[in-house]
């Protein structure tokens, strides 16, 4: 059995290392070794579930060695990671790990998105709590905090409308992260569907010929709002997410296939466009909403102050 080390800090930035290790492992049964994990966010958790699903596609059920840290283990339990992991991995370690147990500090525990009904459930469950967190902890104006539910709904709809597969969503608030010394809300959304390249292939691949790639597909959807639907009202959900998150000085990034595209705020330093990443199916979305500082203007935009990809399609 080949061993895949899970990064100590498991988040969007370290996810590529996990994917590369999975690719390097090749065929056969694998063990995800998460013993050294010290910090994990929603993207990291749903990303690890997805990596387990990919590993299982070879026919062998992967194993997962749970973190040694009781604090991390408790957090994974509260986020319902262990409930979902149980169906994907053969779990090892973790001592007297418990199941997720009702009320906790969790904003949105890992939730499968398989239908539009699931999106209503997610919005119903999280909206009031999210408004409290955004207004009281992140200092967002009340009228803007209402948009959180709309952002969450649109990002989940992206799974159903473009992935043609199920996915997971999770969200949590943190007092700080490895990247930003401020309170943030993080949302992670992952699916193992056809990805943006697959979703847009029928309408755009012929136009781009040999240039057709994950990065071109991401640019088409993320920047130009293109979609496989002929309805002019379609394809605007991502644009609305970018606009709202940009107003809050936040970050949106989407990884699909071998590429990643992002609106990068000034507090982060990742490239707005990355190509030739190790392949991973579907799409993985990371959204970070930071607390406002002092007298930040309501119309502050990460898109204008930070960096956004701008290559023409």
């Amino acid at each position: 059995m080949k061993v895949i080390p899970v990064p100590q800090t498991l988040e969007e930035r370290t996810f590529d290392a996990l994917v590369q290790a999975l690719a390097d492992a090749g065929a056969g049964r694998v063990l995800f070794d998460a013993r050294r994990v010290r910090w994990v966010d929603p993207y990291g958790m749903v990303g690890l579930l997805a990596a387990g699903e990919v590993a299982a596609q070879g026919g062998d059920r992967p194993a997962l060695q749970l973190p040694d840290s009781s604090e991390v283990l408790s957090y994974l339990s509260r986020m319902a990671f262990l409930d979902h992991a149980d169906g994907i991995f053969e779990l090892h370690g973790g001592g007297r790990r418990g199941r997720s147990g009702g009320a906790s500090d969790v904003l949105l525990e890992i939730t499968p998105i398989r239908s539009y009904d699931d999106i209503h459930v997610v919005v119903d469950r999280v909206n009031a709590h999210a408004i409290t967190i955004l207004t009281q902890q992140l200092q967002y104006p009340h009228r803007e905090a209402f948009q959180f539910g709309a952002v969450l709904s649109e990002v989940c709809q992206n799974i159903l409308e473009h992935a043609q597969a199920a996915g997971w969503v999770a969200a949590q608030t943190y007092s700080r992260t490895p990247r930003i010394e401020r309170r943030v809300v993080k949302i992670g959304v992952v699916d193992l569907g056809i990805g943006f390249k697959g979703s847009l292939a029928a309408s755009l691949a012929a136009r781009h010929g040999e240039r057709w790639s994950d990065v071109v597909a991401l640019e088409a959807a993320f920047i130009h709002g293109l979609t496989r639907f002929h309805d002019p009202g379609r394809g605007q959900g991502l644009k609305q997410i970018r606009k709202q998150v940009g107003r809050w000085g936040g970050k949106v990034s989407i990884r699909s296939g071998t590429a990643r595209i992002a609106d990068v705020p000034e507090w982060d330093d990742v490239p707005p466009l990355q190509e030739r990443l190790p392949f991973f199916p579907g799409a993985q979305i990371d959204i970070v909403l930071p607390a406002r500082i002092g007298e930040e203007a309501a119309d502050r935009s990460a898109v204008t102050r930070g960096r956004t990809p701008g290559r023409a399609v």
Binding site: Y116, D117, I119, H120, V123, D124, N127, R143, E144, F146, Q147, G149, A150, S153, E154, Q157, E161, P232, G233, R234, Q236, G237, Q240
Partner: protein, 195 residues
């Protein structure tokens, strides 16, 4: 009496209708299928009236409105009733619009080049969507008067009558004012709600 025949005021509470229009009891206006169901429910109720109406889309109890649902409910509803083969002679007015609804509504209206009369919290009655300065001025003047011919509004605005005629014709095409009679008289929507 408004002098233009019966135009029925018709209030639609979106938060209540969404509960009746879709299988589950949803309290937020999110997702495209919810918007489609809501639109069909509104269309059905309007068609049952069988008379010209000003439909009030009431957002006052709606907490979350996402772009996809707004596109299906509001934009496609207006598009449907702008067509020559519209199922009924209905006009629409949004009420109880908060700041967080407004952003979303403006986005879908802009996307399709549509206009909508709305009562926005803290702002009062306004015209949402991509509208020119002269059209907005003509609409505001008509709201003030209730009804008028182009010549009267041109006097009010000290603007050339042909330009005001053109602006009013555009507003009528967008169905944010009523145009009736010959010579043409234009009617603001909100006074019609009083019956």
């Amino acid at each position: 009496m408004n002098g233009i025949g019966p135009v029925v005021p018709f209030r639609i509470d979106l938060s209540t209708l969404v509960r009746r229009s879709v299988a589950s009891l949803y309290s937020h206006l999110v997702t495209r299928p919810t918007g489609q169901a809501l639109r069909l429910g509104i269309e059905s109720q309007i068609c049952e009236l069988g008379t010209p109406c000003v439909s009030v889309l009431d957002f006052s109890q709606v907490a979350v409105l996402d772009y996809s649902c707004a596109d299906e409910t509001v934009a496609k509803l207006i598009l449907r009733f702008r067509k020559e083969d519209r199922p009924a002679d209905a006009f629409f007015l949004a009420r109880g619009v908060s700041e967080h609804h407004r952003d979303t509504l403006e986005a879908v209206l802009d996307r399709h080049g549509l206009l909508l009369v709305a009562e926005v919290e803290g702002e009062g009655r306004t015209l949402l969507g991509p509208v020119g300065d002269l059209e907005r001025a003509a609409w505001e003047a008509l709201e003030h008067r209730g009804s008028a011919a182009a010549a009267h509004l041109a006097d009010d605005l000290t603007a050339p009558e042909p330009a005001i005629s053109e602006a009013l014709a555009s507003l009528a095409d967008h169905r944010v004012v009523l145009r009736r009679g010959s010579p043409e008289t234009y009617y603001a929507l909100t006074p019609l709600l009083a019956g």
